[in-house]
Amino acid sequence: MITFSLNGDSVSFKGDPNTPLLWVIRDDFKLKGSKFGCGAGLCGACTMHLDGAAIKTCVLPVAAAANKKVTTIEGLGNPEALHPLQAAWVKHNVPQCGYCQSGQIMAAAALIADKPDASSDDIDQAMSGNICRCGCYPRIKAAIASVADNSQSYDATAVEATS
């Protein structure tokens, strides 16, 4: 049995420890905000935070999350209490189809937590693992830059502490 923290709640998984974390979160814990895009760690649609770091979970065995803190888009913020990046996403009209955006936001949130004053190059580098087929890149970049400009830091562990 594998136990980990999911958005602040302690949860346990009894199935195959090689199951990718993405499928455990989606199919067993029924949190559907994190998406399946490639199954090979190439597109970033499945990005979550593992102890605050952005991780592609479609290739991460759930066993690797044992005793760690997993944060999904649902734990980052919600429509009533938006993370600053989510507010920026709405303000910049970022999403088109929207499918990749949970992963984009999680990757961006880890960057902003690490580098609150992320530069344009920092943003390019941190976000180049996340594909957007609709091509929302200029707006994703503008939204992240607007939060970086505001120097609003995000503490990836805060969600654990407050829940």
């Binding site: 499928w23 559907k32 998406k35 649609a45 938006l82 999403p95 929207g98 499918y99 594909i131 091509g135």
Partner: protein, 733 residues
């Protein structure tokens, strides 16, 4: 509507809408109709329906008839109906319409989304529904308040009487007893409040919080998961298979042969995915089984050399004009097969009970999905409900039905709700593709740059017949299979021998005023399934035409923009777009080693010019910035127009630099994003968009930004390197 008709209340209830209020419904003349307020819409091309519900608590719901795949259509159509209803689209609840013929696309006559037509075809009808409904509410308020309706105003969901404001919802009971006004006069565009203004997308918040529901997010009690192992070569049937190892794999519930392959059903997706690797299948050989990409290219060239084309259209006498020309250019351009690769892999969730069937998915072709389930399950159409979700990308890929057929075959075998999910490998290897195209352009221009003769020929597979092959079982669900096969065969025959599929040659001459031209086509189909891919034929024809325009300009030593302007005499809208873009380009200063390339193309009623700023370092092409000038008529939401151009640039740049589906022994070589790369942020250009101010009715915007990009980049690369690249994707020697 016949016996398949549902009562209005039943229909809306089963669409997930319950509660009081009025339902605004409009019906075709002569149709059985049970709604409370039938009105007759005079626009003969429109098949009207129920679009609005206004609840007593003033919750105003708009049932959007078009599928949201990122193009912003829920926002766009809510803006259009909201303008005349006088409700801010931000204050409406916008939902996907259920499946019902009243939601048919007025042009397609079936419920579906594509061809960049939704805003154009719904612009007038939805304004009328909004205006008539507002007039009805004013009449009801006049009765209830005892104030003549002429003395009442409306404002964002409220009736305004002097300094009092009353929610629309206050008057729904009275409104329910009144006759719906018809043909209410519409606002003058100068009075528009929401149309033409930048506004937030109605789906932005859901998509920024992971709460937007896509087909893949469907989760039903007792649901099981399925994957399908498909043949490496499209259309092959399984000769025999060994499922003994797969059957005993963890979680596996069943193994089912379906028409496209072998389905593995398990308690969880991951279990099905793992077990599928344990299947061994012998597949039959097909003619396609020996085809390689090299052969495709050779066959397409040979077809043009054979000079046995079918004419699509001509004007004047191009042969005579060529005979009189002092200089003729003749050049081949090539574009490969491409995959759509929407971010959400295809999926469908189907539950069949004694009461009917419910399908949760994201499709661009709701009507055909419903029809194909009618055909396969034998259930009455009215008992089949399509719960269309947000589409995680479409680009044409979600107008096909093979995954709907698969999930139906699986669900009928196992008697449980089932979710079918394709992997990325399935998506890239077993899809429907933008066909490869060889184009030979022969052109002559006089020494002032005016084109005197133009011949454009294309060889390759057609799209329409193949797409219809896939869609017809759903579009004509009651047509017997024998007749259906006959119809599809006849269509193939027609396009192979008599007529040209318009999708195959669109864009080969239309952008310019040509005094003489001939467009013709040679069909060459190797059997790889094809379908519409964002901007369809324009996606390759623009590359040939706009590269040739620069080649002509060079041959005549004329500025490329000036040459284009010389050939737009009776195309005032495009002429203005090119002129404005040309002025922007002339004023641009670029860093050393950066070069500008220009292209323009007209598609889906919209005119677009693009200027690509490019550098080439060590053989690597880098696009730094793309400036777009667009005339799409009235921009309903200018910010969404900008977003569509930005996105189209990225989508097209992926195809320009990387896009290539190869065949080896008939099988698609590419399998995931490592060998079918998609442009990433660190490679993405800045995009500037200039929207021409226009009051003419809106035209398409989802696709027209794609076609000019590849030739704009190729033209810039030529300036940077002196290499004229005539093959996509662009690769320097």
């Amino acid at each position: 509507m016949s016996g398949q008709s549902l009562s209005r209340r039943h229909f809306l209830k089963t669409s997930g809408m319950v509660g009081g209020g009025i339902v605004v419904a409009v019906a075709l003349p002569g149709c059985a109709f049970n709604g409370p307020h039938p009105i007759e819409v005079t626009d003969a091309g429109f098949i009207p329906n129920a679009f609005l519900q206004i609840a007593p608590d003033n919750k105003i719901t708009f049932y959007c008839p078009s599928d949201e795949m990122g193009q912003g259509i829920r926002t766009g159509l809510a803006t259009i109906i909201g303008e005349e209803l006088d409700v801010d689209p931000a204050n409406m609840l916008v939902q996907a319409a259920g499946s019902h013929e009243d939601y048919n696309n007025p042009e397609f006559r079936v419920q579906g989304t594509g061809g960049s037509n939704a805003v154009r075809v719904f612009y007038q009808p939805l304004r009328q529904v909004g205006a008539d409904t507002r007039a009805l509410l004013l009449n009801a308020a006049a009765l209830d308040l005892g104030i003549p309706s002429e003395q009442l105003l409306t404002d964002d969901g409220f009736i305004v009487a002097g300094d009092r404001r009353y929610p629309y919802g206050d008057f729904v009971d009275t409104a329910s007893s009144l006759e719906m006004p018809v043909a209410t006069s519409l606002k003058a565009p100068s009075n528009f409040q929401y149309i033409g203004a930048d506004a937030p997308r109605v789906d932005a918040l859901a998509k920024a919080t992971g709460t937007a529901s896509f087909g893949i997010d469907t989760d039903l009690p007792g649901m099981v998961y399925a994957v399908v192992v498909r043949p490496p070569v499209a259309g092959s049937k399984a000769l025999k298979f060994d499922d003994s190892a797969a059957r005993i794999a963890p979680g596996v519930l069943d193994i089912v042969a379906v028409s496209s392959g072998i389905a593995v059903v398990a308690e969880r997706y991951w279990q099905a995915h793992q077990a599928a690797k344990k299947l061994t299948v012998d597949w039959e050989k097909r003619p396609l089984s020996s085809v390689t990409s090299t052969q495709v290219r050779q066959d397409l060239s040979a077809a043009l050399e054979a000079n046995d084309d079918t004419e699509s259209s001509h004007v004047g006498d191009p042969e005579k004009a060529f005979a009189e020309a002092d200089r003729i250019l003749e050049t081949d351009y090539y574009a490969p097969f491409l995959a759509h690769a929407p971010m959400e892999p295809l999926n469908a969730t189907l539950r069949i009970t004694e009461n009917g069937a419910d399908l949760w998915t994201g499709v661009q072709f709701v009507g055909a999905a419903q029809g194909v389930l009618e055909r396969l399950t034998g259930l009455p159409r009215g008992d089949i409900k399509i719960h269309n979700q947000f589409l995680g990308g479409g680009f044409g890929r979600r107008a096909t039905l093979s995954h709907i057929v698969e999930v139906a075959e699986i669900a009928m075998s196992i008697d449980k709700p089932v979710q079918l999910l394709w992997s990325r490998e399935d998506d890239l290897r077993h899809g429907f593709y933008r066909p490869a195209a060889m184009m030979k352009i022969k052109a002559a221009a006089d020494n002032e740059g005016r084109i005197t003769a133009w011949q454009a020929r294309r060889s390759g597979a057609n799209i329409t017949a193949q797409t219809m092959k896939n869609a017809l079982p759903g579009v004509l669900p009651s047509l017997p299979t024998g007749l259906l096969n006959g119809l599809v065969g006849a269509m193939d025959y027609v396009f192979d021998n008599w007529a040209v599929d318009a999708s195959s040659v669109e864009g080969l001459h239309e952008t310019y005023s040509l005094p003489s031209y001939r467009v013709s086509h040679a069909s060459v189909d190797h059997g790889l399934p094809t379908t519409f891919w964002r901007s369809v034929g324009h996606s390759y024809t623009s590359f040939a035409v706009e590269s040739m325009m620069d080649e002509l300009a060079e041959a005549r030593q004329i500025d490329p923009v000036a040459l284009r302007l010389k050939n737009l005499e009776d195309k005032p809208r495009m002429k203005n777009v090119v002129a404005q873009a040309g002025r922007l380009m002339a004023a641009m200063t670029v860093p050393e080693h950066h070069h500008l390339g220009f292209a323009a193309h007209s598609s889906f009623g919209t005119d677009v010019a693009q200027i690509a700023q490019v550098s080439v370092t060590d053989g690597n092409i880098r696009v730094h910035k793309v400036t777009c000038v667009v005339d799409c008529g009235l921009a309903v939401n200018p910010d969404i127009v900008r977003a569509q151009l930005e996105g189209a640039v990225m989508f097209a740049l992926t195809a320009t630099l990387y896009g290539q589906i190869d065949l080896d022994d008939g099988a698609v070589v590419q399998s995931n994003f490592h060998n079918y790369p998609i442009l990433r942020m660190n490679e993405s250009p800045a995009v500037d968009v200039v929207i021409i101010n226009s009051q003419t009715p809106p035209t398409g915007i989802g696709e027209p930004g794609v076609p000019p990009l590849a030739p704009a980049v190729a033209n810039a690369v030529y300036r940077a390197t002196g290499q004229r690249l005539r093959d996509l994707p662009l690769k320097l020697a």
